[in-house]
């Protein structure tokens, strides 16, 4: 059975003034006298409302806050484990790349492993030196010096950011940033 009749106050959602409420009450009473269907619907609604009011607020099992603390601790544990894994992964990748470079150099002459390591370090230095020379060629004097300074500052800034990111990943204090 579809109930489509009961649209009177207090069933509807209008914001009525006191006078309007009185008029609506009178209208409802008049119609209730005429319509048994309406009476049925109103009593159904009153029963539903009463059952809602009787139904209690459901509580969680005891120790809810303690279980939450445990969950938080587990999340933190997982997060710091993930950070360590990231750091180890990055270190491994760096070490593998260095080994690959050195290994390629020593393929021809395996006996010269020590010099190959030194050569790899020197190669990085040469790369930086080439950059500086390139700037010196671009212009002499003051502009070249400023350019070199700016490049050095940018490189230093990137290095600081990288170290800070590494530190944060590995040892950063985890507070509200739980994942």
């Amino acid at each position: 059975m579809k109930s489509r009749q009961l649209d009177h106050w207090p069933m509807d959602e209008r914001d009525l003034t006191a006078a309007e409420k009185e008029r609506e009450k009178e209208r409802l009473e008049r119609e209730l006298k005429k319509s048994p269907e309406l009476r049925k619907e109103l009593s159904a609604w009153q029963a539903i409302e009463a059952s809602f009011q009787e139904a209690p607020m459901v509580s969680p099992e005891r120790g809810f806050a303690r279980r939450w603390q445990t969950r938080l601790a587990a999340r933190r544990e997982r997060r710091s484990q993930r950070q360590v894994n990231w750091l180890l992964g990055l270190l491994m990748m760096g070490a593998l790349s260095a080994l690959l470079l050195i290994g390629l150099d020593t393929l021809a002459s395996p006996a010269q492993l020590g010099s190959a390591v030194i050569e790899s370090v020197l190669r990085v230095g040469k790369l930086i030196g080439s950059g500086a020379r390139y700037l010196a060629i671009l212009g002499d004097g003051w502009p070249a010096f400023m350019g070199a300074l700016a490049l050095s500052a940018a490189l230093a800034w990137v290095s600081v950011l990288w170290v800070a990111a590494m530190y944060r990943y590995a040892f950063g204090q985890i507070q509200n940033g739980v994942r």
């Binding site: 059975m1 109930s3 619907e41 609604w45 059952s51 809602f52 005891r62 603390q69």
Partner: protein
Amino acid sequence: MVRDDERALITAAAEGDDDAFGEIVERYQKPVYNLCYRLLGNHGDAEDASQEAFMKAYRGLKKYDPQRPFMSWMLAIAYNQCMDQLRRRRISWVGLEALFNRSDQQSPSAEVAVAALGETESVQKALSALSAKDRAAVVLKYWYDYSYDEIAETLSLTNSAVKSRLHRARRELMDVWTAEQLALGEGQNEISPA
């Protein structure tokens, strides 16, 4: 608005004081859990959703606007968590029978069992007929005594959308209730001796 002691707790928790947030959890566990239970229909999912809601609140505490009531902010998080959970797992509202079966498996405390027993089967069945959003509006209205404005704020709806949801929900509740009463009446007629 937030009370002074509550504001102090929130500030402390936002600065990383776990005990302060533990106190917040203690204070709000019941309303948050009740909303999750009414929306999800069983204690296992309600526990998970309310725990996650507190976890999200903990993470987002710095974004909380103290001009807004904390309870309504917390319930909004719980509501969104429940909607996510319903979408993800496609949980359907369970009747009282399923609730008891599940509760037996999870061996709930006496407190929880008593709370479940205190509800009539008709209330559960009637609520289960509503969509999750309509159910949330009804629960906030009748269990939390929220005004239309408060419901609108919690569920991120307009005031008129709340009114129309409640109106529709009432219609559906009455249909279910009346049908059930009719079925009950027929059942009794069959049992009663001629």
